[in-house]
């Protein structure tokens, strides 16, 4: 599917290439990598105390180029060339696509999990290894008991409730786990719950943007603007206006009071921003919303008197309905734990309390988003959104005022973005315009599109995958240590030895590199790769909102993606 040379650009033609043609193609690919890698990669410029120097590292360019050619060659052997595939006895000679699926399915379903289990056992992490084995056993059992049903159909209805239960139980399990000494490597209870809360913010943002992009098919690249409106509403209201109007006593309750206001303000902005752009389609709408997002960010940076510009604003952190989580002077209690101790059971101060509370707050907010959007989808407005995505002109011919439909989509999406923004501010305790850049909008859009077809469950997975992978990147730290910690000493030992065989320049480069740097480029590449291989995202079925006799899912190929 990707960049495979096909005659006339027609898809699916299984053209068998001769070895010399393949060689020629590989040669050309290699040549193409030259201008791309030289000079940008091969020449390294550095600014040392105001003096510019450069040194060459052609070996790196050569290595990357070689990787490209080798990778392409492998694709030829395993994916694109049926003759080679047949020679390797992988699949029938006339099926180009089959070998790819079969091989990858085997690898993903069996080889990879079993490798992970082996590594876990080698590291005495028996519980986790056991968990994976149980999952595999369960999957195979299902396959045996229901031989003619697809696995996804069987599991489908249970995914949402399962995730709900998982979400509710997560902090509890993590907390108990810590008590019994069971913890994920490198992800202690605190970090895990914090990360989960962070991911939930993006899930909520994804669900909010889903209304605009997934359901109504309107390409919004400036969603971060509403996120910012929500955050700054909370910031300004809680630090400036509410104390001025209602006295300082309101500050601990500020979040709860400002939450609806922030949502309304964001929704209002959604209408204001939506109004001028309604007639625009597709790419144009995307770029205009991008411009709007940037305008808002620039105004936030530059309107110093109102927003404190790049310095940002310190905001009060979230309280438990008025009781803070801060440790008091003695160190024994916080207001919160004192409250609990006085009324329920004795509870000493523990840093984890605020994290758990934050987690449940965002969990609740996200759930509200989910249920409201789910309900809306079944109501006429939701159906109108999806019809708008399918064909706007047909909608208008049926008497639907699509202008209002679009505005409603914008407003509702913006409102949830505003809620999320408020929470974000209260969680961080500090906001600045730097958090609301275009890249965030692109990220949220990636989450929605990769989730697939406006499916809320898909968004959960894509948000977890993308934001979670950022943490994984952070974990990779310096390569040698990371590999060791992830794979345990035994395996790490071989890898370290293998690693030591490479030229020192490579090692230095590799170890010196901070993998966190690669997370954004990984997201960009993931976006492209997903579009090439699975453009409809993870979830490929649409559920109808009403049915006469039987609810039948609609395959993704038929569902429109919207024209903007």
């Amino acid at each position: 599917m990707s960049a495979a040379p096909k005659s006339g650009g027609a898809k699916g033609e299984a053209k068998v290439l001769s070895p010399s043609e393949i060689a020629k193609d590989l040669l050309i690919s290699g040549l193409i990598t030259v201008p791309i890698l030289v000079p940008i990669v091969a020449i390294r410029t550095q600014l040392d105390q105001g003096i510019l120097t450069w040194h060459s590292r052609f070996w790196l360019a050569g290595l990357l180029g070689a990787l490209v050619v080798i990778g392409r060659g492998l694709m030829y052997v395993f994916v694109w060339n049926p003759r080679a595939a047949a020679a390797l006895d992988i699949a029938a000679p006339d099926a180009v696509v089959v070998p790819k699926i079969k091989l990858s399915r085997i690898i993903l379903s069996w080889v990879l999990p079993l490798i992970i289990v082996a590594i876990l056992i080698a590291n005495a992490r028996y519980i986790f290894a056991g968990l994976i084995l149980v999952l595999i056993a369960g999957r195979e059992a299902l396959r045996i008991v229901f031989p003619d049903r697809k696995l996804s159909d069987l599991i489908g209805p249970y995914v949402a409730p399962g995730l709900l239960v998982f979400g509710i139980m997560l902090p509890i399990v993590a907390h108990l786990g810590k008590a019994y000494g069971v913890e994920l490597p490198n992800f202690g209870e605190l970090r895990l719950i914090d990360l989960a809360g962070y991911i939930l913010i993006y899930i909520m943002l994804g669900w909010g943007l889903n209304v605009v992009v997934g359901l109504a098919g309107l390409l919004d690249l400036g969603y971060v603007a509403f996120y910012a409106v929500g955050a700054y509403s909370y910031a300004l209201l809680s630090t400036v206006y509410f104390p001025r109007w209602f006295g300082v006593g309101i500050v601990p309750y500020a979040f709860y009071v400002t939450l609806p206001v922030a949502g309304l303000l964001a929704g209002l902005w959604g209408v204001i921003l939506g109004f001028p752009v309604l007639r625009l389609r597709g790419d144009y709408l995307a770029i205009v919303t991008l411009a709007f997002g940037e305008i808002i960010r620039l105004v936030l940076i530059n309107w110093f008197s109102f927003t404190s510009g790049p310095q940002g604003i310190n905001v009060p952190k979230l309280t438990f309905f008025g009781y803070t989580f801060k440790q008091d002077a003695d160190g024994d209690y916080s207001e919160f734990s004192k409250f609990i101790s006085d009324h329920f059971f004795p509870l000493a101060y523990d840093r984890i309390h605020s994290y758990i509370f934050l987690y449940y707050v965002i969990f609740a907010l996200a759930l509200v988003t989910y249920f409201v959007t789910k309900r809306l989808r079944r109501l006429p407005i939701g159906r109108a959104w999806e019809a708008l995505r399918e064909d706007e002109i047909a909608c208008r011919s049926l008497g639907i005022n699509t202008t209002n439909t679009k505005l409603t989509a914008f407003a509702i999406g913006a409102m949830f973005g505003g809620f999320a923004g408020s929470f974000f501010a209260a969680r961080q305790g500090f906001i600045s315009p730097e958090s609301f850049v275009y890249l965030e909008s692109a990220l949220i859009l990636a989450i929605v599109v990769l989730g697939g077809l406006g499916s809320p469950i898909g968004i959960v997975f894509s948000a977890t995958a993308i934001m979670g992978s950022f943490e994984v990147f952070r974990e990779l730290g310096s390569a040698g240590d990371a590999i060791k910690s992830m794979m345990g000493e035994t395996v790490g030992g071989w890898l370290s030895w293998l690693f030591a065989q490479f030229p020192t320049q490579l090692q230095d480069s590799f170890i010196g590199t901070d993998p966190v740097q690669f997370r954004m480029i990984a997201v960009g590449m993931a976006m492209v790769v997903m579009m090439l291989f699975r453009p409809r995202g993870f979830v490929t079925k649409r559920e109808p909102t009403v049915y006469l006799k039987e609810k039948k899912s609609i395959s993704g190929d038929m569902v429109a993606e919207g024209h903007g």
């Binding site: 193409i32 940008i40 390294r44 600014l47 510019l52 890249l439 960009g524």
Partner: protein, 310 residues
């Protein structure tokens, strides 16, 4: 007098935008999508200029012939690199998605833009700091005083060079589009890709060449940008890209003279706004223009209004 100076500055900046805008408009005209990565191709051009210039270690002392030769080489290399980038982007991220859903090429394009920016950032360790080489003494400012003795309106060699070369390039390109077979093929593909293919035009190749031509112009703009401002970093493509797209739309998407006209206007507006109002909000001004144009005049100044067939 101040105004005249700003006028010159604006036209210079506008030329740069115009060159990038031509690339946007050509690609949009032929495959109907915005190449989000085009602004980053411009950035690649300017980064490459920087790197190669650094390698050549030109100083003010080199003779003019050596400088000219070196610069020509730099331009050539930048163009080659940028063209390869853009060509590859088209082959890898856009062509396979041509028959696909509406959103797919757009997402792919956004992803590619991110990849390009990050690629340069990681490779050059630019991080978030602009790279500031000062290549001094290459061009002596020529002052051309017009007006009272207190003020001088300067017109640097650089500015003349930019405006002139832009005009030349634009003329060359317009001639290519109007007179050559390639230009005809391109115009045919703009109108109706299927029909063009049926008539024997190699649509794939025409599209590839369009991307290459667009990249060449963007690379030249990058070269000019770097020579003029003496500063570049991995992020310049973002704002420049949006402004250039604004220029393309303002001038009328699909029209090359329109793109240049739009570019000049945007450049002038940006400079005038900075000069007379506030520098901080100059980007806001440009973006607002984009919004206004798309709302009230989507076909631009020189474009034709599209009537949708129902």
């Amino acid at each position: 007098m101040y105004f005249l100076q700003q006028l010159i500055n604006g036209l210079t900046l506008g030329s740069i935008y115009g060159l990038i805008a031509i690339g946007y408009t050509m690609v949009y005209g032929i495959i109907g999508m915005i190449n989000f990565a085009h602004g980053d191709v411009f950035m690649v051009g300017s980064i490459t200029t920087f790197i190669v210039l650094l390698m050549f270690a030109l100083t003010g002392g080199s003779g003019p012939f050596a400088i000219a030769l070196a610069l020509a080489l730099v331009i050539a290399i930048s163009m080659a690199v940028a063209a390869t980038f853009n060509w590859t982007i088209e082959r890898v991220a856009y062509r396979p998605l041509r028959g696909s859903f509406r959103l797919a090429p757009l997402i792919s394009s956004i992803g590619m833009s991110i990849v390009l920016q990050e690629f340069v950032r990681i490779a050059q360790e630019g991080r978030s700091k602009p790279i500031q080489p000062i290549i001094k003494g290459k061009f002596v400012l020529m002052t051309k005083s017009v007006g009272t003795q207190d003020f001088a309106v300067t017109l640097s060699y650089m500015q003349i060079g930019i405006i002139l070369s832009t005009l030349v390039l634009m003329t060359v390109f317009t001639l290519i589009i109007q007179r050559t077979a390639l230009g005809r093929a391109q115009r045919a593909c703009e109108q109706d890709t299927k029909m063009a293919a049926l008539l024997g035009i190699n649509v794939d190749r025409t599209i590839s060449i369009t991307f290459i031509l667009g990249a060449i112009l963007a690379a030249f703009a990058g070269f000019m940008f770097f020579m003029y401002y003496n500063v570049t970093d991995f992020h310049v493509g973002f704002a420049a890209g949006i402004k250039a797209f604004t220029a393309a739309v303002l001038g009328g998407i699909g029209s090359i003279p329109g793109a240049m006209l739009g570019g000049m206007l945007i450049g002038l507006i940006e400079v005038m706004w900075s000069a007379y109002f506030s520098v901080e909000y100059k980007d806001v001004a440009a973006f607002t223009i984009l919004v206004l144009v798309l709302i009230f005049m989507p076909q631009g100044l020189l474009g034709k209004p599209e009537v949708e067939k129902i």
